[in-house]
Amino acid sequence: MPEIPEYLTPLLRVESNAWGQEILLGLSWELTWIFLAGGLGFITLHQLYKLLIEPKLIRK
């Protein structure tokens, strides 16, 4: 099994098997919140654009 680079481990779910080897289980579930925040952040930015910027544009 290829070794998992240390800088990637915060992004991954890793556990040790019975022989002490690191086993890759998947992506860290903590990242789910980042993707949810990405969607909600996009909505917020779009709302702000519609409210604050679009009315000030020279042409709509």
Partner: protein
């Protein structure tokens, strides 16, 4: 209401709503157990995934042979149109931007994002089914080496998480007041003549009239 034009045929609307139901089922059965809500999620998850996969294959075949495949391809004209549109909005260009064909650039970009993530999630999801008991085979967790399974899971997780963002944005635009005519088009299949004339270039998309 006057003349109406067909925007989506019944078969395409059924496809859209079928994959919507599958997608919601997949996201709920995939992420709710992680959030702490424990229930028997594996069977509904793989069944929804299988229906989703079959629907995607159907859509690819239909897009290749029955629909206008090239209308979804991003061309130089789309990119130039986007640059021109930004310039016009900022008052840097006097000439109004061209209207698009059936699918504007942002729709194409969204479609290709969904297509990419669907391809990854379907391919990895089918491989992951080797690890579960189904009516057709018994599970075999040793089919791949551990690290290969790990990579498959990482890719499946990544595509699934992207879908959280993509679905959130899609529902948001579907519910925005100025986009409701498009949502109606995906429910009832038609748009009005005014909506067609306001938003599309007839030289790029000539829809059928509704009888």
């Amino acid at each position: 209401m006057g003349e109406k034009y067909i925007r989506h045929h019944l078969v395409d609307r059924l496809f859209h709503w079928l994959i919507a139901v599958c997608m919601i089922t997949l996201l709920l059965t995939g992420f709710l157990p992680i959030a702490g809500l424990q229930f028997s999620w594996v069977d509904p998850h793989w069944i929804a995934g299988l229906v989703f996969s079959v629907a995607i294959v159907f859509h690819i075949v239909r897009a290749l042979f029955w629909q206008s495949f090239w209308s979804m391809i991003i061309g130089l004209r789309d990119l130039k149109g986007a640059v021109h549109s930004v310039k016009w909005h900022l008052g840097k260009s006097e000439q109004a931007p061209e209207k698009p064909g059936k699918y504007p650039l942002l729709h194409k970009l969204y479609h290709h994002s969904v297509a990419t993530m669907s391809s990854i999630s379907v391919a990895t999801g089918i491989l992951m089914m080797i690890k579960i008991d189904t009516p057709w085979w018994e599970r075999d967790p040793y089919f791949f080496e551990d690290w290969v399974w790990g990579v498959i899971y990482v890719l499946h997780d990544l595509a699934s998480m992207f879908f959280i963002t993509l679905v959130t944005i899609h529902i948001y635009f579907g519910l925005r007041p100025e986009k409701l005519w498009m949502t109606r088009g995906m429910i009832k299949g038609w748009i009005t003549k005014k909506e067609y004339e306001d938003h599309y270039d007839p030289s790029k998309w000539e829809p059928q009239k509704l009888d």
